[in-house]
């Protein structure tokens, strides 16, 4: 049975087909959320929430985007909502703790904690998100705008400003 057939069955209320779909997309979603949050435990919580939301909203899925994109959209919005609700100080403390964990994991695997990762981790989440979606996942501006529920112009400016900020941190001598 291919994915489209499974999606159709899941929309019609087949629990087994939906379970299979969620199972197949679990790792993809988890990896996406780890890169978004840079915090594995937060990513895990968000995966759970995203899956519950998918179960609740599966009947609204209209196939206008890929199933994985639909899941990413839900996860992105849940993450944005979560970040808006949290206080800046709480966010900063959690992030610092999580980053130390990520740094430790990378050192364990003899991967360097590069300046690029460091700069990325310090970038505001609302700038990191569109950069990741645009350049890593290859989504178009209008798709990102839809995912983040913001105008296309804002997506473009956030990507531009995010890259400028990263460039300033990584190449302090580079021209503006």
């Amino acid at each position: 049975m291919d994915e489209q057939q499974r999606i159709n069955l899941a929309i019609r209320g087949d629990d087994q087909a939906l379970a299979q779909l969620l199972h197949e997309h679990y790792t993809f979603l988890m990896k996406y959320l780890i890169k978004v949050t840079m915090n594995p435990s937060l990513a895990e919580d968000l995966v759970q929430e995203t899956m519950l939301k998918c179960i609740e909203k599966i009947s609204y899925y209209n196939g206008s985007s890929k199933f994985s994109s639909w899941m990413i959209t839900i996860a992105t919005r849940l993450y944005i909502d979560m970040m808006r609700k949290r206080k800046v100080e709480q966010r900063w403390q959690e992030q610092e703790q999580a980053l130390r964990g990520v740094q430790w994991h990378m050192q364990q695997h003899q991967e360097a904690w590069t300046d690029a990762i460091d700069a990325l981790s310090r970038l505001r989440y609302d700038m990191r998100l569109p950069i990741l979606l645009k350049h890593y996942y290859g989504y178009a501006y209008d798709e990102i705008a839809e995912m983040m529920d913001i105008p296309q112009g804002t997506v473009k400016s956030r990507i531009y400003n995010g890259l400028q900020q990263l460039r300033k941190e990584l190449m302090p001598n580079a021209k503006e």
Binding site: A19, T73, V102, L120
Partner: protein, 131 residues
């Protein structure tokens, strides 16, 4: 799942006029960032996907919870409707003028709310498929 560069280029062809030009410096920076993301993907441990049977159980429980919540919302809706209809009937029986004023104010408030939400939605851009 991830789209590669060639896919990206092909997909973005129709919109190419709206794609801003990426400078050589920016491209180098982007490549560096993507490499970092890939490293994170490989290194950071994550839990494995739950067993399909466990997910089925989760789905059943969640659907049950949603059904209960919907039933509660429906009950609240009927209660509110009952109070409103009962109150309005009482108002009609007491004074037609008070009933007219109440209806007028309610209508204006509803129109104001609709207009407000329309303006807010236009500012943000409406997205239906993810709701």
């Amino acid at each position: 799942m991830r789209k590669n560069k060639s896919d990206l280029n092909q997909q973005s062809l129709p919109n190419s006029s709206s794609e801003p030009h990426v400078s050589q410096e920016d491209q180098e920076l982007i490549d560096q960032l993507m490499l970092s993301f890939q490293q994170m993907d490989q290194v950071i441990p994550h839990s494995t996907a739950p067993h399909v049977g466990h997910l089925e159980q989760l789905i059943t429980e969640q659907k049950l919870a949603v059904r209960r919540r919907n039933q509660l919302e429906l009950l609240c809706f009927f209660l509110v409707a009952l109070v409103l209809i009962g109150g309005n009937t009482l108002l009609v029986m007491t004074s037609w003028t008070a009933f007219g004023i109440f209806q007028g104010v309610t209508l204006m408030a509803a129109l104001g709310f609709l207009f407000g939400s329309y303006v807010r939605r236009k500012k943000k851009g409406d997205v239906r498929h993810a709701k």
